[in-house]
Amino acid sequence: MAPLPGSCYLPARAPAAPRPEPTMSFPIDRIRNFSIIAHIDHGKSTLADRILDVTGAITQREQKEQLLDRMELEQERGITIKAQGVRLPFVAEDGVEYQLNLIDTPGHVDFSYEVSRSLAACEGALLVVDATQGVEAQTLANVYLALENDLEIIPVFNKIDLPSADVDRVKREVEEVIGLDVPEPILACSGKTGEGVKEVLEEIVKRVPPPRTAPEGKLRALIFDSWYDTYRGAMSMIRVVDGTVRKGDKIKMMSTGAEYEVTELGVYSPFPTHVDHLGPGEVGFFAGSIKSIEDTKVGDTVTLVHDRAEEPLAGFQEVKPMVFCGVFPTDSDQYGDLRDALEKLNLNDAAFFFEPETSDALGFGFRCGFLGLLHMEIIQERLEREYGIDLITTAPSVVYHVFLTDGSMVEVENPSRMPEIGEIDRIEEPYFAVSIHVPSEFVGPVIKLCQERRGEQTNMSYSSTDRVVISYDLPLAEVLFDFFDKLKSATKGYASMDYELKGYRANKLVRLDMLINGEKVDALSAIVHRDNAYHIGRSLAQKLKGIVPRQQYEVAIQAAIGSKIIARETVRALRKDVTAKCYGGDISRKRKLLQKQKEGKRRMKAVGSVDIPQAAFHAILKVDS
C-alpha cells in the first residue's frame, strides 16, 4: 500500500535541489532507527508531528495537521496504512548530532506483514499508549512482532494533557498485560502540547541501540515500502543493513533476480532530498526505472549485481489475498472506468488482486482479492471517492480448497463457482487463530459468540486480575460475517482482537443459493456450514424481504441448496405510490422529494425486472447464527 501519485503529503514539486552531502557515511553509532507502535486513536500521528517539530525538521506549518498520514482516507479513519521513513537530525543533550530515522507502520492487522517488515528495519520502537485508556489487543500484537524482531521497546504514555490521564494505572497495565518493564524515567508526554516530547527523543538516543552491520559486508538493503510514481516508476523505501548503495549502482532484487540501475537515491527529511549514497544503518528511498511494484516487493533484499550477497535478509514472504469479493459498476457504462481505476490502484498496491468476472445477475465486473476486510473497504471507498464509480459489491468470501472426486484440488473464492455437489470429495476452509482481549465480565458473551461462529477454544488466560485473553480457532468465513460488530456490541466496545492465519480444515460446507422470482441470483450465493444452512437460508430470505423494495409485481424470494428449496418469502406488490395533489405551490417540494428518492435508488441493480439494492448483496453478513 502506498499513496497515489499526487496524493502524497509531500509537496508535488520536484525533489528539492540536492543539498551537499558528506561523501563519508554517517557514523553508524549515531544512527537510531525506530518506529511507533500505537493503537488507533492513541495519538501516533500527532506525536509524530510533534517529533518533527522538536527536531526542527518542519519549520513552517505548511503541512497538513497530521503529516504522516498521507491519504484523506487514512486521516478519516484515523489510521496509517502506509509505512514510510523520515530522517530527523537531532542534537541530543550530550551535544552530539544523531540521525534519527522514524519509520512509520500501518496500524491494522490486515497489514501485519508490512508492519513486521517496517519493524525489521528498526532497532527500537516507541510503544505509545493513551494514558486515558490503556493497552489494546492490536498494540499487543505489534509489540510481540517488535519483540520477535529484537527491538528495544520504550513505553510512552501519551495524552497527559487530558484530565482523565492516569499514567500510573496505564503503566501498571503495560507491566501486567504486556509483561514489559517500564523503567525510570517514566516517559509521559502530550503530542498535542509537545510536553515531554524532547525527553522521549533523548531516551531514544540513550536506549535504542545503533544499527548492527557486518563490517565490509556486501550490500543488503531491506525494502519495507513500495509505491508507484507516475514519472519515476516503482519506488521503494529501504533500510541498508550491510554495505553501501550508491547512485548508479547496478542492483539485484534477491527474490526475483531482476536487475536495475539506481537512478535516484534520497531521503525524506521530511521533504525529499537527493543523496549519492546510503551507508549501513541508513534509511532512504530509491528509484530505478522499475515498471511495477511487483518487482519491488516489501520484505525483499536489494543487493549489488557485481558484488552479490550470499543470503537474503530473513523474513520475506509473498503476500496473498485472503478475502475476495465481486466488484461491479452500478452503471454498466462505467466498466471501462472501473478497469482503469483498478489498474491504477494495483500499481500502488501489489497485495490487491483483480481479474474480470461475469455475473448473470450483475453483468461485467471484477473479482477482487484483498488482505482483509479493512483493505477491502479502503479499496472500495477509493474507487467510489477518488474515481467516482458507483459500485455494487458482493459479500466477501474466503478461498476454499475444494478437493474433487478425481483427486484434484481447486481453489474457489467465488461461491457461485463452487463445483456441483456430486463432483466434490471434500471442502476445506481457512481458519484464523484469534486472540480476544476483554475485561473479565465479558468472557461469557465472547465465548457465546465464538461458539456460535463454529469456533474452537484453544486457550484462555488472565493477563491481569480483570483482563482475559481468549483464544479461538475460527473459520475465517465466520470472522468476515459481521464478527467485529457483533464482538463490539457483545462487549460494549471493550474487546480488542488480533488474528493470524492458521491453515485449512475440512468441514461440511454447502452452497446456499438464493432465487428471486425463480431465478438463481449468482451474486447472492454463499458457502455455509451444512448444519446452519436451513437457519441461514430462512433468515437470509427474511432479511432480503425487508431489503428488496416492493415492485409492481409480487416478488418471490427463495433459498435453495442444490435443487431443494428450503425457505420462501414474498415481497408484496406495490399498489399505491403516487402523489394525490400537485399544483403550483407544491412543485418544488415534490421535486425535491422525488430527487431524494432517486438518490436512494442509485445503488440498485436491475436483476431481471426486479430492482435489488446494494444492501441485499451484503445481507448474508447480517444473518444471525
Binding site: 403516487v578 402523489t579 395533489k581 400537485c582 403550483g584 405551490g585 418544488s588 421535486r591 428518492q597 425486472s609
Partner: protein
Amino acid sequence: MRDTSVYVHFPWCAKKCPYCDFATRKIDVATLPHEAYADALLRELEVRRGALRGRRLTSVFFGGGTPSLWSGAALGRVLAAIRGAFEEESEALEITAESNPNSLTRARAAAFAEAGVGRLSLGVQSLDDARLRFLGRLHDRTEALTALGHAAAAVERVSADLMFGMPGQSADDLAREIDQLLEAGVRHVSAYALTIEPGTQFGELHRLGKLRVAEEEAYAQMFERAERAFEAAGFAHYEVSNYAQPGEEARHNLHYWRGGDYLGLGAAAVGCLSEADGGARRWKNTVDAGRYMEALGEEESETLGPQDRIREGLMLGLRMAEGVDGAALSARAGVDWRRGREAALARRLERGDVVLEGERLRVPRERWLLLDGIVADLF
C-alpha cells in the same frame, strides 16, 4: 407572447380542517380585511407589473384558504386589476374561484359571477355526513348539494372536490358518492386520496398511532373504482386526481402540469416565471398575512436550472393522460431532456411503465398508481 396564469391566494378559513397543510389561518369571519387585502394585492401587482411584459393572461385562479369568504366587490377589484396588467388575454381566459359549501351563498355566487368568475370549484369532499364530520368540515350533505345548486345557477362551469381513502370507506361507498355528485350537475371533479401530511392535526394523530388510514390495497381499489364510475358517466380521467367532461378540464391546472409560467399573488402565494436563459425563478411570498399586507415581500426564492425544469416537466406532465411533449420540454430547458436518462428510459419503456409516441412521453393509465417511482427513476 408567453402564456401566463395568475394564482391569487386568499389565506383565511372559518375553520382549519384537520388534514389541510395549505397556508391558511382560522379567522373570525366578521373581522376579515376584505378591502385591505385587496389593496395589498393591488400593490403587489404593481410591483410585479414589469415582469408581465410580453405575457398573455390565460387563467386566474382564486384559491386558499376559503376565497368564498371574500366579498365579491373586493375580489372583483383584484380581478379587474390583474386583467388590466396584461397586454393581452387569451380568448379562452378561465377564471376560477375556490369555494366552501357553507360560505357560498346564492348572493356570493352571483357576486363572483358578476365580478367575472366563470368557474366555481367547490370543496364538497364527501356527500356522507359521517365522513364530512371525520374530515372536520363545516357543512353537511344537504348544504353541499344546496351550494352546488347556487354555483350552477351562477356560473357555467362547476367543479367539485371529493376525497377518498377514509378509514372504513369502501369502493362501493365511493362509487355511490360519485354518482350523487354527478347528478348534482358538476362537469369536473377532483378526486383526491386522503393524504396524511406532517404538521397537520391528522399528521400528528397518525404519528401518535391514533388515526387509522385506509390500507394501500383499499386505496388502490377505490382509485380504480372511481375511474370506472367516472368513465361510465362520460368523464375522462385526464390527470391522476382529475376527471372532466370533454372540454371541461381545468385550464389553469393544465397550465401548471404543462410547465407553464404562473404569477402568484397574495400571502404565501408561489409564482414561477421563465427567464431568458432557459432557467426560471420560483418564489414564495411572505406567508404571514398581516406582514404581507404591511410590507409584501418574499419568503423564499429559488432559481431553476435546465435539469430542474426537465424534472418538473416530467413530474407534472406524466400526471396527465396526454403526457409530456418532449420537444417542448427540451426547448423550454434548452437541453435535450433524454440526455443522461437513456438507461432509465429504456428500462421503463421495456417494462411498459412509459410509452413514447413520437416526441410525446406518457405513463399508461394502468400505471398511474405507481407514478412516483416511475418518475423518480427518470429524474
